[in-house]
Amino acid sequence: MNYNVGHDFSLSPVLDNLTARLARIVKTIRGEARLTEANIQDALREVRVALLEADVALPVVRDFIAAVKDKALGAEVVGSLTPGQALIGVVHRELARLMGEANVALDLATQPPAVILMAGLQGSGKTTTTGKLARLLLAQKKKVLLVSCDVYRPAAIEQLAAVAAQAGVDVFASAAGEAPLDIARRALEHARTRYYDVLLVDTAGRLAIDEAMMQEIAALHGALRPVETLFVVDAMQGQDAVNVARIFGERLPLTGVVLTKLDGDARGGAALSVRHVTGKPIKFAGTGEKLDALEPFHPERMASRVLGMGDIVSLVEEAHKKVDLEEAQRVAEKIRKGKGFDLEDFKQQLQQMQKMGGMASMLDKLPAQLAGQINPAQLQDDRQLRRTAGVINAMTPQERAHPELIKASRKRRIAAGAGVPVQEVNRLLHQFEQMQKMMKMMKGGNMARMMRNLKGVLPGMR
């Protein structure tokens, strides 16, 4: 999945704010020659708020803002970008850098059995993730054994057994009356003598400040000598993520992080907090309750999700590369005036969309709110764009400049000329009208409303 939060709830005021805020950053700084201490101050404040609303922990936000400021005031404003766009670029790049440069896979290179130890707070998703990893490793032809050292939570052992059965792997029997350390030792011995490739060890959820429980898991680590010690974090977690991650990181030599429940609509700022304090890669993303809902983690996409604006940065950059700048400025000018946007312009825009790789590739780069509204199944993609351009081509220049002239008889002629049914012409005119409204709104600076009104303008939008 792409990590964009996509459904009706994503249009909450908070999320609207995020997009609007960052849009405002571009607006406020536009027209100034370069970034100065003074003119990025406001913009950085907006970034700070956006990150806090995304649940990035305050100390991490502070460090982050300091780093961005450092870079922004340096020589990084280049090329044809406006200073505002350049600043967003810096923010996004820095966020992606903090999130980790690339995906890091499990490293099971060791004398088998390779042990994977799971750790985390209560309810974060350890047991489910254990099952997911088992399924993944089984598909890689590994011989996998699971064991539960959770002797506390009612039916935790049964839960892991059920999950193992679903995944189709073996489980080492344990019971609530036993000591976790004993269970672990016996399971390891069993895995050794039966030539298992991997032993996955599920543990009870624990609070970072529960000294006895933290000692317990440190002891488990000592006895098992795992190659991977994975810290399982709920994507909905708030500010406390830094404290919890720091303590777990101090007590256990973590090798990686799993971020769960990314199928929800949380921005997932905890990912950044955890990365920042542990320095460990986020290796997997949990994207559902079923055992196949585990994916390699993509830092870049997560950075976009936290910012709540899709990969708008690369969209901006690509637009600059591929789109005829003069043409773009002409349209921008019309938008600014809020009038005179005609069907000819509409056609140009559609063609530019095609130049930028068509709808499918744009979809990946759109802000979360927008991408969520688009139903890929309905997306007719570039064929649809070409058809639309064909309809406009069948119009006279006068009709293009004054769409209101297009009544029933003209519609029939245009449809015949383009080889499409009349409904197609009607739909196009409707789309155009929506687009025109949107342009007016953009002029008013109301990004949020614009997003909402984009529904139905682009093909395949719900």
Binding site: F9, Q237, D240
Partner: protein
């Protein structure tokens, strides 16, 4: 009152551990000499790091400054008391006891995102209700997650109360049976567990609406209470959860769990501002007795201890 003190003591000792772990807290802060900008900034940081959210924090600080001006507050400790008072005022509307004096059986339906503490809270609630002299029946409405039923059955055993469950089957069928059983057995309170779900899973939100409808068909007026269980670790998404579940089901209350950890559950400040659904109980541990009625003053004190 005894229970309240011990909970407060417990929460304080919990926070003491937190402070030790974090190296100093607000206490140190108020040792300073004057009410100045750095002090306000520290207070802002304290509220933000408690997950109060940007908007609620702004509102609270604006009110605090106003009060400081009005009451001519110049001493840091007095400012701290004033902040607590503002927090208490914000949270007081959420304070509401669970009304047990209505229909019999009284039906309580539990909802929430995955892993928030629903099933555990039901176990604790069953104990609390029995302490109030009520008979209790549980319905294993989570027919999806592995061993969810066994987990609730274990809580039933700990409480010595019956659990209505089916092997397989859907949630609506289970709660329908349970409602009939509750009436037939003359039970005071029926509590229905449901599977965890994220509001983005629209089909699951539809499914839980059906559970509610079916309860209403089985017993007119049911469910009398629809409680959302919220994890205190949750950040600003907590507000989105309250909104989404309230829109789908019409919530009558909240339960805030896992307050025994280092998370402070400040998102309830945002909830109090935007969607003031009553906060009936807080969860302070994994044990059967670790449930307390919500007390706004105590909570306010613990938030900025």
């Amino acid at each position: 009152m005894l229970a309240a003190t011990s909970w407060a003591a417990r929460l304080r000792s919990g926070l003491a551990r937190t402070r030790a772990a974090l190296g100093g807290g607000l206490g140190a802060l108020f040792g300073g000499a004057a009410v100045d900008e750095p002090l306000y900034e520290e207070l802002e940081a304290a509220l933000l790091t408690a997950d109060c959210g940007v908007e609620a924090t702004r509102t609270l600080l604006a009110r605090l400054r106003e009060r400081a001006r009005r009451e001519r507050i110049v001493e840091p400790p007095a400012l701290k008391r004033a902040l607590r008072e503002e927090l208490r005022l914000l949270l007081a509307p959420l304070e509401k006891p669970l009304d047990l004096t209505r229909d019999r059986p009284l039906v309580i339906m539990i909802a929430g995102v995955n892993g928030s503490g629903k099933t555990t809270s039901i176990g604790k609630l069953a104990k609390w209700l029995q302490g109030q002299g009520r008979s209790v029946l549980l319905a294993a409405g989570d027919t999806f997650r592995a061993a969810a039923r066994e987990q609730l059955v274990a809580w039933g055993e700990r409480n010595g109360v019956a659990v209505i469950a089916q092997k397989g089957g859907d949630a609506a069928a289970v709660v329908f049976d349970a409602a009939a059983a509750a009436r037939a057995r003359g039970i005071d309170v029926l509590i229905a567990d449901t599977a965890g779900r994220l509001p983005t899973q629209l089909h699951l939100m539809e499914e839980i609406r059906k559970v509610k409808r079916v309860l209403g068909k089985a017993l007119p007026g049911a469910p009398h209470e629809i409680l959302l269980v919220l994890d205190a670790n949750t950040g600003q998404n907590g507000l989105a959860q309250v909104r989404a579940f309230d829109e789908a089901l019409g919530l009558t209350g909240l339960v805030l769990t896992k307050l025994d950890g280092t998370a402070r559950g400040g998102v309830v400040c945002a909830i109090a501002r935007e969607r003031p659904v009553p906060l009936l109980f807080i969860g302070v541990g994994e044990g059967i007795d670790d449930l307390r009625p919500f007390d706004a003053a105590e909570f306010a004190g613990a938030l900025v201890d």
